[in-house]
């Protein structure tokens, strides 16, 4: 019923990534401002030096300019070297998040609609349950994929936050579904409950 987002086209790393993702991602933000090396903190310079495998001593006043020059040279010679790997991983991450964000949004939309009507109209629950259940399964599989991948890319907290958000969305959807099945059962088996007579 729900038109699937075909991510296969997005898996091609040669394709241009959506621009907004680049801007929002702090890693690309720093990479894009690489020419303003003098504005970076000492720690950032040290990190960049490590990225380019440049052995260095402490970054202090007298050594800083030297390392900035080295970084500029290294960036000119191999501008794609560290960032290309990152973009590849980032693309993987992005691709997977793209998939998961598409599905749960639709689920949530259905779930919200159902919640509002919920108690009054149990008739629609049957269809929606059947629709949501298989789609939830698909979303959960994508979540599994995504949780497996982010281990590889850079160990930043942003990835963990996204994982958390995805998990929470999934839990919300599952909770909504359970509520509906529960109410549906309640309403449809009124007579049976009356017979049981607790």
């Amino acid at each position: 019923m729900l038109p699937e987002v075909t991510p296969t086209s997005l898996l091609n790393p040669a394709q241009p990534r959506p621009a907004f993702r680049h801007i929002l991602n702090p890693r690309t933000l720093y990479a894009s401002t690489k020419m303003s090396l003098s504005e970076k903190s000492d720690e950032e310079i040290a990190q960049l030096l490590a990225q380019y495998d440049i052995k260095h001593g402490p970054i202090v006043d007298s050594t800083r300019k030297l390392y900035e020059k080295k970084l500029e040279k290294a960036m000119k010679e191999a501008p794609a070297k560290p960032s290309s790997d990152k973009t590849y991983y980032r693309e993987e991450e992005e691709v997977i998040t793209y998939m998961t964000y598409h599905n749960p949004v639709r689920h949530e939309g259905y779930a919200d609609m159902l919640k509002r009507r919920g108690n009054a109209e149990p008739d629609e629950d049957e269809e929606s349950d059947q629709d949501t259940e298989p789609s939830i399964q698909s979303s959960s599989t994508t979540v599994n994929h995504s949780t497996a991948r982010p281990r590889e890319p850079i160990r930043k907290s942003g990835g963990c936050v996204r994982k958390m958000i995805r998990l929470m969305l999934l839990l919300a959807v599952l909770a909504a579904v359970f509520y509906y099945t529960y109410f549906h059962v309640m309403n449809s088996e009124e007579n049976i409950l009356g017979l049981r007579d607790r």
Binding site: K55, H56, G57, T63, L66
Partner: protein, 90 residues
Amino acid sequence: MSTTSQKHRDFVGEPMGDKSVTALSGIGEILGKKLEQQGFDKAFVVLGQFLLLRKDSDMFIEWLKDASGANSRQAGSCAQCLKEWCDAFL
């Protein structure tokens, strides 16, 4: 490059103590003045810079050329001098 100057041998042969920056091999009056202007008035301060750069001769040479306007020969000589001093006393 195995032939070392007297200046080099003098410097490397003993602890530098409080020697002026012009005692370093390759550093003469003019270069010495330039370094002093930047606060490197004693040999041990230049040694400090050498150590900060993790005793990397290439980096030190680059820095020295930048800081004092030394040419490759002079900077190389100074780096070699400091390296041998470190090997002996550090």
